[in-house]
């Protein structure tokens, strides 16, 4: 199961992505569990809103952080996210 670059990516309705004030970080919440996210993972997942393709997520983040060459890192993370069921495609 890997990311299809031609399909928009959405966050799973079976999970919740949320900012935790007490922990000062984003977390993913699901039945009986919680994953604490680092800043870059949270930035990526927040763009998984069902409207963007992989390429657009990369472009948006490269623009936001005025950098280039994020494609591999973002793709790798999104593949992990897909395997964990945090995101889905169509």
């Amino acid at each position: 199961m890997t990311i299809n670059p031609d399909q928009p990516i959405s966050f799973s309705p079976m999970h919740r992505l949320q900012w935790e004030e007490a922990q000062q970080k984003f977390v993913i919440l699901y039945p009986e569990g919680m994953v604490e996210l680092n800043q870059s993972s949270a930035e990526i997942l927040q763009l998984c809103d069902g409207s963007r393709l992989l390429g657009q997520i990369v472009a948006d983040l490269e623009a936001k952080f005025a950098t280039a060459g994020l494609t591999n890192d973002i793709t790798n993370f999104l593949n992990v996210a897909l395997q964990n069921g945090w995101i889905r495609q169509a």
């Binding site: 199961m1 309705p13 079976m14 919740r16 949320q18 935790e20 007490a22 922990q23 977390v27 919440l29 699901y30 039945p31 009986e32 569990g33 919680m34 395997q83 069921g85």
Partner: protein, 375 residues
């Protein structure tokens, strides 16, 4: 009695709100205390809101509404709505008994995140026998409705000697019902399960066979269904890291407002567990005697004290140490390093003797009548 790292108290992350000890079922492995009938008082709606709000402020985020049967509370939807506003991820841990489609919709609208339905067995006859109530068909319907209304569906089956032979059928049932998560919870022997241990503890062979079947199934459904497998610690040689360490993560509030470091801690002597009517959650978590009792490692005896695994398993479960050794400071007897490990082996042998001789002991069902008779 505080541990050495008192300054590093971590905030609670999980709050278990036991709303009521009332329950229409009578499962003989219930984790509620045997003497629950002594505590009929229940916190008010406002009390619960205060607890939810205070614990959330400290950082609690996973919330379980449990019991008894939490559906017996008429203010459940109101509490769910309040919890959602505070940002909790809330879980209804229910027998499903009495849960209608209207209420499932109402709870969804109030912001409930998921529903965990317990089923006792894969057949009506055994399910209804174990539950002490005719409930099998209704539970199946509830599981389907939970799914229909877009909740992640968590099916929970407590495993013991009376149903362990149904493992293949239990897994098939979970698949047919479309469970997103399946919790296969080998019985932990506290409360009513401790009382009924001889009749509930599977033999080593039964456990090994069931585990193998569950493991193969886990691989088969990978990516579709997530399996939570709660191991039967009697057949391990190291104890479980109970509650992820005392007073580090979990906070249980009993129906009458007693705050517990774990849901069985009420059985331990001399903890003076505080009540939310007398103290704030902050005071309870940080300052109370009960929550500091087994924090850190200073309380440990040998062999835990000098053990290089003490930061992994925290000496195991205090309630198990107390139940078997009558000494809550001792090493969890499950540990092969414990001088009392033979007591676990004797319990296994006693259960095996009953299982193989065919003279089954009658189960003591969890109900108010039995609770009052025992105390």
């Amino acid at each position: 009695m505080a541990g050495s790292d008192k300054l590093n108290i971590t905030p609670p992350r999980w709050l278990l709100a036991e709303l009521s000890y009332k329950c229409p079922l009578q499962c003989p492995y219930c984790s509620n205390p045997l003497d629950y009938a002594k505590y009929p008082h229940e916190l008010s709606t406002d009390d619960w809101k205060r607890v939810l709000s205070q614990a959330r402020k400290m950082g609690a985020v996973q919330l379980g509404f449990s019991g008894g049967e939490p559906l017996t509370r008429q203010d459940l939807s109101e509490l769910v709505r309040y919890a959602r506003e505070l940002g909790y991820y809330s879980n209804l841990i229910t027998s499903g008994y009495g849960l209608t489609e209207d209420r499932i919709i109402e709870l969804k609208q109030a912001g409930l995140d998921h529903i965990q339905v317990s089923i006792q067995a894969s057949t009506q006859e055994l399910n209804d026998h174990l539950a002490g109530t005719e409930s099998y068909q209704h539970k199946q319907d509830v599981a389907r409705l939970v799914k229909k209304h877009g909740y992640p569906m968590v099916l929970c089956v407590v495993i013991h000697r009376e149903n362990i032979h149904q493992m293949p059928q239990i897994l098939e049932m979970a698949e047919n019902l479309g469970a997103d998560y399946l919790e296969l919870a080998n019985t932990q022997y506290y409360g009513w399960a401790h009382l009924n241990r001889d009749a509930l503890l599977p033999t080593r062979e039964q456990f090994a066979e069931a585990e193998q079947i569950a493991q193969a199934f886990k691989e088969k459904v990978a990516g579709k269904m997530k399996i939570y497998y709660v191991v039967p610690d009697f057949y391990e040689d190291r104890p479980k890291a109970c509650m992820n360490g005392w007073g580090t993560t979990f906070l249980t509030i009993a129906p009458d407002g007693t705050a517990l470091p774990c849901h069985s801690a009420r059985e331990l002597p001399g903890l003076d567990c505080p009540n939310v009517n007398d103290f704030s959650i902050d005071q309870i978590w940080n300052e109370s005697k009960a929550f500091n009792f087994f924090r850190g490692t200073d309380w440990m005896q040998e062999p835990c004290r000098s053990c290089d695994e003490k930061h992994q398993d925290f000496g195991g479960c205090r309630c198990q140490a107390y139940l078997f050794n009558n000494d809550m400071y001792s090493t969890d007897p499950v540990c092969s390093k414990s001088p009392q490990r033979h007591r676990i082996d004797e319990a296994i042998a006693a259960a095996r003797e009953l299982a193989t001789s065919g003279t089954e002991k009658p189960l003591v069902f969890r109900n108010s009548k039995n609770s009052k008779q025992l105390f």
